[in-house]
Symmetry: C2
Subunit: 416 residues, 2 copies
């Protein structure tokens, strides 16, 4: 018997030929119909979501997890609005990236094309179901969705609504597939489906991403892990430094571009560390520190290498006092996940050295690492933030969901 | 005990920080010294190569394999010349790819940076050792080389010469690492070295590539497999069609962009198939055909689905007569490895449909598929031909060996 995963991925792969041919207008019409249908079916979606919530409550799911899972009229409206925003974005497919004429008369165009079938593996946020589908379909891809089992009833209803919305459009309903099998084995099967899935994109916590990276033979775009640093240099402006570090830590600690470790030049630390630390303590941030930090602040918990290697995603942070820029760079080289790193300094030479030397998707001078985000960068959308170096690095907008193709026009050329 | 693979990959990873900082001039000086040293050490290299050849002869290696392995004065000179050509190429590292100013005053530059450490896994061609090292180093990457065991003496001497050549340059000798362990386990260890290798590029036959794709958890750039088709449409110019098909098959049958299956529109076939087939038979090409081909040609072997799925890399080809363009597209969709595909036609509407519909790295109208090549495309170099859809697709020049980084310049911006 052919598994659900293989069956649905095959249906999606078969639908790629039609998806490749769709015009921007046809794709936008389909996405608009999907948005309309979500609004029209709001009550049915909320009813399905209530089943997930009820099961969650029975299983003792935490309030914050239940909140992420919960849908109401406003949230459904906002999800539908997200689809309409995707409609408004320029379509990267078909874009001419390069053109060259060869001496033998060959004319070569390099254009953007859909990737094919994208496998999305994520957790229990039903908004990701719509958001990921919208971004994949806008770029002419088919999508195989595998959301967390805690949201299965919501996802099943949402995908049913989306597929039904396509019935009078040029877009094939097979372009959207939902894997309903809640067994972990269905994820692992997706990871080995070379030839049927062209890429897998995991969105979720560290353990989900690790499982995907460690087991996938299908190409993966790794997203999300962020142990981000802010380095306050000797010459930093005090107010600016505090505001940037504070924003990087507490504006939304649960996300990947928030700060986990603050590195402070010893000259700045001697003068300002106590006041700076106080600001964080007032906000309820637990501080852990190196020995020199402990000598400057009272009652601070020591920071270990394990702490420096942990993505807290919480109101906890490490402070390490360093003797100079080189020591800061060495710490970052050792502990960074190469996501987002910042230097606060008035010394432009140090700024440039930091920016050139640090190996990360985004490197900041005098701005919060929280800006590493597709919307903040002006892409109008974001499928995730890539922390790998191939294909796409940093916030991924629509072009990250495309591949390329060379079109070669000849007049009988053969190779000599 | 730490394995050879892990030890050497760590040395390479540690050297990335220095490599990131090198100027184009410093890299070019290092590459030029390497070319000089290869020439100066030609005799020592040939002596080492003779050990490989001797072992090969004793083990009954085929003459064609021995020929690929063999080095002489001219071949070493040509390998050194290849390095000098890499010196002449523009350095993609540092290139400004995008710049945008955000409404909040942030200035964002997207620039090209080295990938980091590239693992190359290949077979018994010592020229690949130098070529791959040259391309990786020019783009500021470190390289971990794992060549075929049949060339181990040659590779050991070549890498020794290359490393010694770096002694008075800014480039660290650790940037080049050769894995000498000839056990297959050393390859499999490389494939799981996430965090130390940033990408693995396999170059070689189908089984080598399959092993890499099926077992790697490190990101892979898949290269090489090519089941390429030429479709001769009803309106094709006879002479042009024959020349293109003939060139695609016989100009160099052993390579990935050569043709394996010729699809012929029935109207063209009725009139011309006998004459066309004769041209191939004269050249010693074994023909296999569909039933309709067999009805038009005498004594032809039947082509099976397995034949259509085989990359012969030899003087063998399949011929299939199809009723129209759609039948040709369906055959290609089923059997293509998405490398290079060609239509020969005078009908511009059919040409455009073929070019848009076929999902392949390079799609040709009226030109031989043999042109899918970094040099033929004018890139001046080629690390391989990617047959995957992520990161790079088709011939890969120097930019395919780079990643990107966002440099974000602020004046104290924080996220609201």
């Amino acid at each position: 018997m052919i598994s659900e995963v293989r069956t649905k991925a095959s249906l999606a792969q078969d639908a790629t030929a039609i998806m490749n041919r769709l015009s921007t207008e046809q794709k936008n019409t389909a996405l608009s119909r999907m948005a309309d249908a979500l609004i029209a079916e709001t009550n049915a979606i909320i009813t399905a979501n209530e089943l997930d919530l009820q099961r969650g409550r029975e299983q003792g799911t935490s309030p914050s997890m239940l909140d992420r899972l919960a849908l109401n009229k406003d949230r459904v409206a906002s999800i539908a609005e997200g689809l309409r925003q995707i409609v408004e974005l320029p379509d990267p497919v078909g874009e001419l990236l390069e053109h060259f004429d060869r001496p033998n008369g060959l004319k070569v165009n390099k254009i953007r094309v859909p990737i094919g079938v994208i496998g999305m593996i994520y957790e229990a946020r039903p908004n990701v179901t719509v958001d990921a589908a919208g971004l994949c379909l806008k770029t002419g891809n088919c999508v195989v969705l595998r959301g967390g089992s805690a949201a299965i009833e919501s996802n099943r209803k949402i995908v049913e609504v989306l597929k039904n919305a396509l019935s009078d459009t040029a877009m094939p309903a097979d372009a959207i597939q939902l894997i309903e099998d809640s067994d972990r084995a269905s994820v692992n099967e997706m990871l080995k489906l070379n030839g049927l899935l062209d890429v897998v994109i995991p969105r979720g916590g560290a353990s989900l991403i690790r499982n995907v990276v460690e087991n996938a033979t299908v190409p993966v775009i790794e997203t999300g892990a962020g142990i981000c640093h802010t380095f306050i240099d000797a010459s930093a402006d005090y107010t600016m430094a505090v505001e940037i570090a504070f924003n990087a830590k507490v504006q939304r600690p649960s996300v990947c571009n928030s700060m986990e470790t603050l590195l402070v030049h010893e000259a700045f630390a001697e003068q300002h560390l106590a006041a700076l630390a106080d600001r964080f303590v007032q906000e309820g941030v637990e501080l852990r520190g190196c020995e020199r930090t402990a000598s400057l602040l009272t009652g601070i918990k020591p920071a270990t290498d394990e702490d420096y290697s942990t993505e807290y995603n919480d109101y906890i942070m490490n402070i390490r006092v360093v003797s100079d820029l080189d020591a800061a760079l060495a710490h970052i080289r050792r502990f960074s996940t190469k996501h987002s790193e910042c230097i606060v300094t008035e010394n432009s030479e140090n700024a440039e050295r930091f920016i050139q030397d640090v190996d990360a998707a985004a490197v900041y001078h005098n701005a919060s690492t929280r800006f590493t985000d597709g919307f903040e960068f002006g892409f109008g959308a974001e499928i995730g933030i890539s922390t790998q170096k191939l294909h796409a690095r940093g916030p991924m907008g629509l072009p990250a969901l495309t591949s390329t193709k060379y079109l070669v026009y000849g007049t009988g050329q053969i190779r000599g």
